[in-house]
Symmetry: C2
Subunit: 348 residues, 2 copies
Amino acid sequence: MPRQATRSKPGRNPDIRTVAALAKVSIATVSRTINGSPVVSDGLKKRVWQAVKQLNYFPNTHARTLVSGRSRLFGIIVENITNPFFPELIQSFEEIAVSFGYEILVSSSNSDPATLTKCIHRMLERKVDGVAVMTFGEEESVLDELVHHGVPIVLAEFKLDDPKASTILLDYATGIQAAVRHLAELGHKRIAFLAGPHSLHSAITRENDFRAAMQAIGLPAQKKWIVECDHTLKGGVSGFEHLRALASPPTAIVCSNDMTAIGVLRAAFKEGLRVPQDLSLVGLDDIDFAEFTLPPLTTIRLSRADLARAAFEALRQQSEDPANPKLQREFLVSTSLVVRGSTAAPPA
Amino acid sequence: MPRQATRSKPGRNPDIRTVAALAKVSIATVSRTINGSPVVSDGLKKRVWQAVKQLNYFPNTHARTLVSGRSRLFGIIVENITNPFFPELIQSFEEIAVSFGYEILVSSSNSDPATLTKCIHRMLERKVDGVAVMTFGEEESVLDELVHHGVPIVLAEFKLDDPKASTILLDYATGIQAAVRHLAELGHKRIAFLAGPHSLHSAITRENDFRAAMQAIGLPAQKKWIVECDHTLKGGVSGFEHLRALASPPTAIVCSNDMTAIGVLRAAFKEGLRVPQDLSLVGLDDIDFAEFTLPPLTTIRLSRADLARAAFEALRQQSEDPANPKLQREFLVSTSLVVRGSTAAPPA
DNA sequence: GTGAAAGCGCTAACAA
DNA sequence: TTGTTAGCGCTTTCAC
């Protein structure tokens, strides 16, 4: 059978030709109309949209991607989706992305470089237009591949020397300073810090910011009161036990993240220590759950919505308008102290 | 410039032609080799793989999808990604999918039919090969569109009368019976149930299973002790307060999910009630966090891994081998009681 | 067993 | 302003 100029395909999903035939225009006009080209006359535009509606037509994204080279797909890689911080981040990121007509691909690196590499590979295979690497500073070396492929990338807290890479700087210092000052004002002098794993840049930054904040109020941090944990609840438990065993245990603890603080809360309760009467506690992140711990957790808020917005905006700019001279390659997300019920004056 | 038979494209990602040129074979042979066709001779196969490796080539998934009609993309729609049950489910689903060469698209319906509809639309646009609707029985009416498009679909706890639709049945009864028997054996007679929202099939099933379990041990459930909550922590708090206000409050509470139980735990603590000495408590789900509440939560485990496996398997079978006569369209996931520290004998 | 060529549904360059 | 047409990178007949 010879190929026909306009094949209508009954039974199958309508394609651009079906629409063109119904609207009695060329497929180019359909394409232009759908993509909002300004040159189409109002009359044809109307006919096309009517046909689109009548057929319930929507364009094939894969065909579009194939010819345009753009997938309208962004990847987001998180450390661990079962840490409540990340689903909240993903949700925000997704909402924004969808509102801009993008779809997202989610992966967890599980803090494993090999897994991260595989994630990147898979995203590259799916031709994502950009990747948000929200692993907070671990294993940047494997990101070379992304950069090498010219895919826009945005990192939390790590600068990559590449024009396609953007960075989100997190101003932990402000929040941590506020927390330390808050504790000092309550009368605390022995303030400990349960740090995150030193394999994470963000963990090191937070720890350094804590030291600086202590220094700033003339209460230099003691080495023995700074303990490396792993940002998990269990880690918080053992961190607390370690501190308790000290000759002069601290009266207040600042934690590198909320999960650690929740671990401390639990361990303290088990040992019969009351928070905040016997021990003051500050978390970091302000995950949804922080409001519902017992007592509600005083914590340093790191807005997932702000972070997601910055990440999306970085990728969108890089992807849609890379030549723009005022392209923003650095974003700042701030933190702030949220005082709830886990901090009070130290025991007399 | 005339079109050349074999264009090599320096600088760009290698495509199938680049590989063919390097291996000195036709693009058809490259395609056959990559797709594991048995007809290619060993010699050519070897040359192709070598070229693939040398060029670090991987096929363009969008081109593949366009011609084959299959995207190797599965959608998964959950109720709410910030409920810890779902990230754990998503993670399992992703792991399995990736191991089979699939990618996943994640969306939250947020218990809103309009949002669900949009999710489905977006997934249809991306030409997913199947969708797992893990919303546990809400708003099945909007799923017609999926079925109408002939996309395989798998539902938790809801049967759709369509050959492309599969169902995962959840055997809550076993777990709930075990929980009720456990409480009865401890000596409890006044056992309450904090139900999920009646808009969810699963919530109603759980509630009915509770009634049946009570009946079975000759301890018929009292109407006033069955309270509809909303599967959130806050809902658990108000559910508990409601029960406490009763003339003869229950000595044990079974909750329709863990978040509700955690809410009860919190509210009970606030009122000075000790769990389990003054009140026994059973959750349902066994989210990761259940192990870390104070006291650790006795709960009915619903394995996310099992659920994910069933969902993936349902979609894979429907997608890859729909004509198979022994295609499985119903899957069963069981539940079991995990006894931890939140249950004990009632106060004397 | 291998290759040539059609065409998946679309965008964009070029013609008219 | 509108239409014609050449591919995007791949799979899959159909010849050989």
